[in-house]
């Protein structure tokens, strides 16, 4: 079946609300899922993986465990980027707005691809981002120029051993500035693949024009989550609607 972007956003917000997300968190999480799905990054598959965890625990946020003038370490305590991605990006953003480049490591977190939407949104404030993480036996690198709406998305072979559940984010006024300051941390192996901007743009255009294809069982899963935030209707409650 096909759904619209607005319809999907509305459903996801309520579904995340049902899972205990707070206002703000559920808006951000819905945006992250929709962005990935509409730009060809299999957002629904990643959502299903996240729901397996989110449906069995109360929302967990990351803790700030270490910081100095230019670097932060956040411990995700096994949570999803859907819950802690915004905080991580805001934290690094605050540092760059005050000075030069900054780096952040988010350890012990899952569903890291969702971070792309948060980087794109933050880049609208004239900031550049580079993020990378290990995916199975290769490395994903995402670069976002200031003010752009699409990232550069590449995969590389790994040079060093990278923690399987960590995410590194670097922020600065430009990609060159980041590359220069964090040259040692940004060394990768051979380029494996690139997901082109044209592919992302085509995917988005098609989503808008034709609607977004969603598996009916996932739509029903979302519906059942949404039902948790609804209140049973009674004669008394109908009076509260103007009867």
């Amino acid at each position: 079946m096909k759904v619209s972007k607005n319809e999907l956003l509305a459903s996801l917000k309520k579904a995340f609300e049902a899972l205990g997300f707070q206002p703000g968190d559920y808006y951000d999480a819905a945006d992250m899922v929709v962005w990935l799905e509409t730009h060809g990054f299999y957002g629904f598959d990643r959502l299903l993986a996240a729901l397996t965890y989110l449906n069995t625990t109360v929302p967990v946020h990351a803790d700030l465990v270490q910081e100095d003038a230019h670097n932060f370490v956040l411990d995700g305590k096994g949570t999803s980027v859907l819950l802690c991605g915004s905080e991580a990006v805001d934290l690094i953003r605050s540092q760059v707005m005050k000075g030069s480049c900054a780096g952040l490591e988010l350890i012990n977190c899952y569903n890291r691809t969702f971070i792309v939407q948060r980087l794109i949104k933050a880049a609208q404030r004239n900031l550049a981002f580079i993020a990378y993480w290990r995916q199975q036996d290769y490395c994903v690198k995402v670069s976002v120029k200031p003010g752009t709406h699409l990232p550069e998305y590449q995969t590389f072979t790994m040079l060093d051993v990278v923690d399987p559940q960590s995410l590194r984010i670097f922020c600065g006024k430009s990609l060159d500035a980041i590359e220069e300051q964090y040259v040692a941390e940004l060394e990768f192996g051979d380029l494996l693949d690139t997901f082109s901007e044209a592919e992302m743009a085509d995917s988005y255009r098609n989503s808008l024009e034709e609607g977004i294809e969603i598996d009916e069982s996932l739509w029903k899963t979302l519906d059942s989550l949404v039902a948790r935030v609804l209140v049973q209707s009674t004669d008394s409650s109908r009076a509260g609607a103007g009867d």
Binding site: M1, S4, N6, L64, L208, R238, G242
Partner: protein, 581 residues
């Protein structure tokens, strides 16, 4: 009267009126007193259709002798072609229900992009009559439904069938042949996203333009169906509805709480609407800087008399609204008399409108003030109509993480002083809560500790959330002075949403609605009227504090008027003088 004249006429300290402050404009009571204006969505849509001479034909008009069947209108607008598909069904009068929870209607409609072939028509026939229980696709821009005013519709058809025109007084009592109970767009039920509409379809690239057009076409069909049924009943004797009466027929509308959360959840958009309206008002007031000409004065006086008549012709069972209508009429009579008495002097004076609005604020009802404001805006189409292009804004709410918490405290104290002034320790300050019902997710208002569902409360109590956030930041600032908002949010992640809202809205001129929306005595009807005024409706008839009846497009030009000279003065409709032929 003389005293009034002296006070309004005293311009010694008058000067150009700046934009009104948020603490005046964003009061719920004032927002609930607004009327349509030149930049309301129906007004701008009608201007566009008439000026661009949209061509509307009906390639399918397949109704039986009872008026049931299928109609497809083809709309050739300036930039694109669209189809308005309508299904007319028999509805058991016992099942006629205007509430959102209804599941059958007299009419169901869809506005689609392009032309509609047989296959798509079959698809629509299988889904559109089901409304929320069906699914449509991204070729559909709007889905809507309507119920007949059985009393007026049957009367009109009978009169026409007998060869006579209906009594205008009968029309005035109701105002419409059909009333719409919903017009869904923006991607609901699989429809095209708003982003698709505004990027692909320039004809409807303004907020709610497609939804308003759907209601306009319903009005057109309602009169065409009445003519059709009369001619079916008495082929030789029937007459067509008089065009002046047709213009006086609108579309009824009932609006309930479903509309209320929109105003709270889209504060940047509401800010934009209010800012444009206030800009129009400030522009109109400033236009009297070097005096006003006789013609402008005359038009203003004529419009005042028209509003007085309009108010006299409204019947509402709501006592508060009825009293207000009477009082507004009386105060406008005073203004009318003053204009006649002082006219010659006024054209010589500077800043007349500034003095008038100041006087009104000091002496007259808020409703009267807002009528006057609307009428002032009407006087200067060449100065204000361009604002209609600025009624949309892309909404993005984002934390400003580098801001110090001390600065955030100051921002809240300055911009949300109204929220901090509310004493939430009082029971009545949190005596109500908003929730979504299982019945079509309809938003409802519950009574705290009485109704079920508090644990599923919708976060619409912005004032309370701001207060809680402020208190938390205040304590945080004591223990972590000089810290920034990013660190506060990491340690207090549940506040990220309200922090983003506060920091985003603090950069806007009007921002949030300044009311405690979880107070026991909150009047949601003011929220509804605010939004409806921007839609462009008239004849507000509150049925309770939770829902309001109103009329859409009453007085508006007909399709046959498109492409002709157009005065664009159909606001505040009054009974036409129809001479029997």
């Amino acid at each position: 009267m003389h005293n009034v004249s002296q006070q309004i006429g005293d311009h010694s300290d008058a000067k150009a009126l700046p934009m009104r402050p948020a603490n005046q404009v964003m009061q719920l009571n004032r927002l609930g007193s607004l009327h349509q204006s030149r930049i309301s969505f129906m007004r701008t849509l009608v201007r566009r259709m008439v000026a661009e001479n949209w061509q509307i034909s009906s390639p399918v008009f397949d109704l039986d002798d009872q008026g049931y069947g299928t109609v497809v209108y083809q709309i050739d607008a300036k930039y694109g072609t669209f189809s308005y598909v309508l299904f007319s069904h028999y509805l058991d009068p016992e099942r006629r229900n205007d509430r959102v929870i209804a599941d059958q209607w007299d009419l169901t409609m869809a506005l689609c992009e392009g032309t509609v072939d047989t296959k798509q028509l079959d698809f629509l026939r299988n889904n559109v009559p089901k409304q929320e229980a069906g699914r449509v696709d991204s070729r559909v821009l709007v889905l809507s439904r309507a119920n007949r005013s059985a009393r007026l519709f049957d009367y009109v058809v009978n009169e026409l069938a007998q060869g006579s025109q209906p009594e205008v007084d009968m029309i005035a009592d109701v105002g419409y042949l059909y009333r719409t109970t919903a017009a869904y767009g923006s991607g609901k039920l699989g429809m095209a996203d708003w982003e698709k509409v505004w990027t692909k379809h320039r004809d409807f690239a303004r907020p709610f333009a497609a939804e308003m057009f759907t209601c306009y076409m319903l009005r057109h069909f309602s009169m065409q169906q009445a003519d059709y049924l009369a001619s079916q009943r008495s082929p030789t004797k029937a007459v067509a509805l008089h065009e002046d009466i047709k213009r006086y027929i609108g579309i009824g509308n009932s609006t309930g709480l479903g509309m209320a959360p929109f105003l709270i959840n889209h504060p940047l958009l509401i800010n934009q609407w209010i800012e444009m309206r206030e800009t129009a008002l400030a522009t109109a007031v400033a236009a009297s800087e070097s005096g006003i000409d006789q013609d402008t004065l005359l038009r203003f006086d004529v419009s005042i008399q028209r509003v007085i008549q309009h108010l006299n012709e409204i019947f509402t069972a709501d006592e508060r609204q009825s009293r207000a209508n009477i009082k507004v009429g009386e105060e406008l009579q005073v203004l009318h008399a003053w204009l006649n008495e002082q006219g010659a002097v006024l054209v010589e004076n500077h800043y007349v409108w500034a003095s008038l609005t100041q006087y009104a604020e000091q002496h007259w009802l808020t409703e009267t003030q807002e009528v006057i404001n609307t009428l002032l805006i009407e006087l200067y189409p060449e100065l204000v109509d361009g604002l209609e292009e600025n009624m949309w804004v892309e909404e993005s709410y984002q934390v400003t993480p580098e801001m110090s918490v001390a600065e955030l405290l100051e921002v809240i104290e300055e911009k949300y002083d109204w929220a901090l002034a509310i004493d939430f320790s009082k029971y009545e300050s949190m005596g109500a809560f908003w929730y979504r019902s299982q019945e079509k997710m309809e938003p409802r208002l519950g009574q705290t500790n009485v109704d079920m569902g508090m644990e599923k409360e919708m976060p619409l109590g912005i004032g309370r959330r701001v207060r809680e956030c402020y208190d938390r930041i205040y304590v945080y600032n004591q223990t972590s002075p000089n810290q920034d908002v990013a660190h506060f949010v990491v340690q207090n992640p549940t506040y990220s949403g309200i922090v983003a809202r506060i920091q985003t809205m603090a950069q806007s001129q009007y921002g949030d609605i300044r009311e405690n929306l979880v107070h026991t005595d909150v009047l949601p009807i003011h929220l509804l009227r605010c939004k409806l005024s921007f839609f462009g409706v008239s004849k507000f008839d509150p049925r309770s504090r939770l829902w309001v009846r109103n009329t859409m497009f009453q007085g508006a030009p007909l399709i046959s008027d498109f492409g002709k000279v157009f005065a664009d003065d159909w606001q505040f409709p009054i009974k036409p003088n129809v001479i029997s032929e």
